[in-house]
Symmetry: C2
Subunit: 371 residues, 2 copies
């Protein structure tokens, strides 16, 4: 457990960051985000540069003024989303040219442009523009890509003009320890104020992913935030924390909420199924979110069946609060020196009695690490 | 201006009631409804009896327990919505048989069943089961229908078993003064604790509707609430208040909000148009709603274009607050004895400089009435 300072407040890690892709955490107001314990919100450079455009955000004084969320923000570089466009984009040493998903126009995104956009968006933490290879990818491609990512990091740092923004580098290397090591060797000398673990959660299994997380976190400086990008599900937060991850982000809690699912210690509750339809209990007796303090499962199931907007709104709110509470519980157990016991108990309940090997392995890795 | 007491609180009239068709005011939480000055929420018997069924609502202790809105509720009788089903329903002296829009099953709705459902839903004010003729309708049909509505009122009152619920009768008669008078003559002797003006806002012009409102309110007891059902737009609230209406309800503020429109004293602002796209002002400088205190028009226009849930949510909230504030301003002007001046100024701005004759006529009717 640790803290780090940003211009808009000090955050306590480990933490989960809600994703505000288009300048809003889907369906949730800033006051609600503060009430459920959100500390830092993620914004997406790719989406915001296309619509409404970074100039309009800058005219509001950046994302805090635009979105009315008064706390710290982190923006991604746009790299990951541009890479995901597949045949709609072309990568070169200079950067990426892609077709906008909104109007088909051709857009350039380079390390310099990514930094300029992120400066206009005004987040507290900005990310280096990296190349994230798909999974699976050839070793040779991953190698070329991680080396280019380092050159792009250098260009990002040269382009950066706002000292109040912290730029985090991104370590690549796929699931290969030697390539992760190569990326670390080239990236660590830049001594950025934080480091992200990139190139994971892109299609590999959890049994392949977590050893790569373990390998990387173990070699990143302990006194700087370690950010596992695009992760995760509840089990990913517990496993990631076991391996020393400080920061997470994922659209999962809001997306699965819009699909009618509620996160609990017993797994996902499907509000479309018949189970909750006449159940007068809250989603979670222990949860302090607005939905759990006010509504029965039966009411929320009714909202979902009736396709009422309040349904996805309340399930998204609950799911975000669930992940924040999960991280808070993990932090408390770390403080008490009982993390492995807590995580084991949580996992046994969540996984219905049997821990998956990949999950158990992350807990053994924790035990092997001196506190 | 007046007040009336309900088991769940005293309300001040005139008032606008947000509509919670399926057990939720679309997109808005109970705390938000309280914060914007909502006093009473309308629930729809037709929708709730079909889904989730009145038994489940009763198992929550009625609508307040089900929806978590702690204040007074009013439920309609289901009559209006069943009548709107057209060829999907059959009316007889006994009641209405209709096809559920959800699963096509045949459902009976009679005065007795409507009261039983409304008792299970547990609102503070319940409505008589009436027949609302379409517009236009033959005089003979309107006459038969208003007489049947009175027989149904009698059956509703006989079926009613919960003294804490106030049942309001509904005056019919279309736009014909003599038929309105006939309905009044037959209905007033029941001396229910409030009266609704039914059969309007079903297709007739405002120039046809408002004389019928005027005729009816002038003949309803001044010491009991007068409720103009299914109305209205901002101009309808001002005109209705001029004619002595105490209660209004309409889906308009939330529906137009979901379509991307914001209500203002200058008329409807279309957030899909280019005007607001770079406008850094709030929707309304004078509005105290969450959206106006936190967001620019440009941000809200972005949400609407990006099809973000927060857009319809915030526009619905603002529009409800706009109507509540409009009624509050009307009440304040009544207290100060300046209603006609206030309504004239409001109308000149809202209608861009020229009051429609039907609107001006409602203000003249006010001036002609001793205070």
């Amino acid at each position: 457990m640790a803290q780090f300072r940003t211009p808009r407040g000090t955050v306590t890690t480990p933490m989960f960051m809600p994703v505000g892709t288009q300048g809003t955490v889907k369906g949730i107001s800033p006051d609600e985000l503060l009430a459920i314990g959100s500390q830092m919100i993620l914004g997406n450079t790719y989406h915001l540069m296309l619509r409404p455009g970074e100039d309009l955000v800058a005219a509001h004084g950046g994302l805090p003024g635009f979105t009315a969320y008064p706390g710290p923000f982190l923006t991604d570089s746009g790299g990951f989303q541009v890479m995901s466009l597949g045949h709609m984009r072309k990568i070169s040493e200079e950067g990426v040219v892609f077709k906008s998903h909104l109007d088909g126009s051709l857009v350039d995104l380079t390390p310099e442009r990514s930094v300029a956009v992120q400066e206009a968006l005004g987040a507290d933490v900005i990310m280096a523009f990296d190349e994230c290879p798909p999974f699976p990818a050839e070793r040779e491609y991953i190698t070329r890509s991680l080396e280019r990512t380092v050159r792009w990091l250098d260009r990002c740092l040269s382009a950066k003009s706002r000292p109040e923004q912290a730029l985090f580098a991104i370590v690549q290397g796929g699931i290969h320890p030697d390539l992760r090591q190569r990326s670390l060797d080239l990236t660590l000398p830049f001594a950025t104020p934080g480091f992200a673990i990139g190139g994971l959660a892109v299609g590999e299994s959890k049994a392949e992913m977590y050893p790569a997380v373990d390998f990387t976190t173990a070699r990143l400086p302990a006194d700087k935030p370690r950010y596992l990008m695009g992760v995760g599900h509840p089990e990913d937060l517990v496993a990631g924390i076991a391996l020393g991850v400080d920061m997470f982000d994922c659209v999962y809690p809001t997306r699965t909420g819009r699909f009618g699912y509620a996160l609990t210690d017993d797994g996902r509750l499907n509000m479309n199924s018949s189970g909750p339809r006449r159940d007068l209990r809250p989603i979670d007796e222990d949860c302090d979110c607005y939905a759990c303090r006010h509504y029965t499962r039966a009411y929320l199931a009714h909202l979902v069946r009736a396709e009422e907007m309040l349904g996805p709104r309340m399930l998204s709110l609950h799911n975000l609060r669930y992940l924040h509470r999960l991280v808070e519980r993990a932090r408390a157990s770390i403080e008490q020196g009982t993390f492995v016991d807590w995580a084991t108990d949580w996992g046994l309940r969540y996984f219905k009695g049997a821990l998956p090997e990949w999950f158990a392995q992350t807990l053994r890795a924790t035990e092997a690490t001196p506190a």
